[in-house]
């Protein structure tokens, strides 16, 4: 059994899981289990919020370490589920290392839901949350429209690989702009619910909770990095919304907040 391949397999699995939004300790756990069932001794794995390390030695050999920088991070639970299944069948000995590597490459290339389905999902979620937060039925309908329209520029940005702060700022700005237009057309009543509902898919509530969970789990490094990340995302969104609101007030007048 080639130890290099085992490390490569472990790193690949870790990379897919981390970039699909798995928790730190789950990534480390899966990587370690893969290394151990490939027969490496002194196996260790380490995962921070942006990088993964795997290390191990073949019996009687020198130890090998590999590290990987993970840049893009999203949420894709289907991939996490598949990697989990693969690591289980690897542990049961149903699949060899080479076959597992090619299976992982297949998993990595799996397409997500189509764009229109994701758009509708975001819009439905937004309208439901607008109402759950206390909005009325018209507010919810407006949030649906706003969320749907707002996701279109975001998908365009995604195609050109614009991510991070700028994407969130534009998302917040678009949401505020659409909400203001809808309000001034006389369609909605409460601007707060429309804006908050439509930016709901962007807001990092889950990241913040996961970050605190990481810290309670003892992964202090990735936990504090994720808290920072969550607040950065929120700042970007709030800046987008705030800027558009300020501009609208200075151009068209009136108090909108």
């Amino acid at each position: 059994m080639d130890p290099n391949n085992a490390i490569k397999l472990s790193i690949l699995a870790g990379e897919i899981m981390l970039s699909s939004g798995a928790e730190t300790h789950r990534v480390e756990d899966t990587m370690l289990r893969i290394l151990e069932c490939c027969g490496l001794v002194n196996a260790e794995s380490l995962c921070t919020s942006t990088s993964i390390f795997a290390s191990g030695a073949p019996v009687g050999g020198t130890s090998i370490t590999m590290l990987k920088r993970v840049k893009n991070r999203g949420n894709n639970f289907e991939k996490i589920a598949h990697v989990n299944e693969l690591s289980r069948s690897l542990a049961e000995g149903k699949i060899g290392i080479e076959a597992a590597i090619s299976a992982l490459e297949d998993i990595q290339a799996r397409p997500p839901y189509s764009k229109i389905v994701r758009l509708l999902g975001a819009a439905v979620a937004s309208s439901c949350f607008a109402m759950m937060l206390g909005g009325s039925l018209p507010d919810s309908a407006n949030a649906f429209i706003a969320a749907f329209l707002m996701q279109i520029p975001l998908l365009l940005l995604e195609r050109h690989n614009v991510a991070g702060v700028l994407r969130n700022m534009i998302g917040g700005g678009c949401a505020a702009l659409i909400a203001l237009v809808l309000i001034n057309l006389g369609l909605g009543s409460t601007i707060d619910f429309i804006i908050i509902g439509s930016i709901m898919p962007l807001l990092p509530g889950v990241s913040l909770t996961n970050a605190i969970r990481d810290i309670l789990d003892g992964d202090l490094l990735s936990g504090s990095a994720r808290i920072l990340d969550a607040f950065l995302v929120a700042i970007a969104i709030a800046t987008g919304v705030g800027t558009v609101m300020m501009l609208w007030m200075s151009v068209f007048g009136g108090v909108v907040v």
Binding site: E78, G205, V206, I212
Partner: protein, 157 residues
């Protein structure tokens, strides 16, 4: 109340699509989310001034049901748990914190900020409490559920 639960179900399913949950698990994610929201509303109704206890119980309920689902469907817990806690999670709180800070209302920003951290912390503790319980507890319930379904299917035939 019924409407609220339906909304939580639909909202969670919508979010699950963004998180790319496998198609067959979407409905279960929705149930987890609706269950959390139901427990939250229930606790809020029974205990006035519950503070953070309502969120705590709701997070525990979501994690319990997610662990049962994960044993039933042989999927990682995350697939159900993360969509399930979305209705509880303080996404709007972070936004209010930052928005007020940017608009210059620091008192309001501080209030929202503390409340956000508190809610997120309580949810995280709720998840951890249930996640540290022995797996046998949940696999037992999951097996029981599977058996009940199997018997019912046999009876229908």
């Amino acid at each position: 109340m019924m409407l609220q639960i339906l909304l939580a179900f639909a909202g969670t399913v919508g979010f699950s699509i963004i998180f790319n949950v496998p198609r067959r698990e979407l409905a279960l994610c929705g149930i987890a989310g609706a269950c959390g929201w139901f427990v939250l509303q229930l606790t809020m109704g029974f205990i006035p001034n519950a503070g953070v206890a309502d969120t705590f119980f709701a997070a525990m309920a979501v994690t319990c049901i997610s662990r049962i689902f994960s044993f039933m469907r042989k999927m990682p817990v995350t697939v159900y748990m993360i969509p399930g806690i979305i209705p509880l999670v303080p996404g709007t709180g972070i936004y209010h914190t930052m928005f007020n800070a940017i608009m210059g209302d620091y008192t309001e920003a501080l209030l929202w900020g503390i409340q956000t951290l508190r809610t997120a912390g309580v949810i995280a503790v709720g998840l951890l409490v249930v996640l540290t319980l022995p797996p046998k507890l949940f696999s037992f319930v999951a097996d029981a559920c599977i058996n009940i379904f199997a018997i019912r299917r046999r009876l229908r035939r």
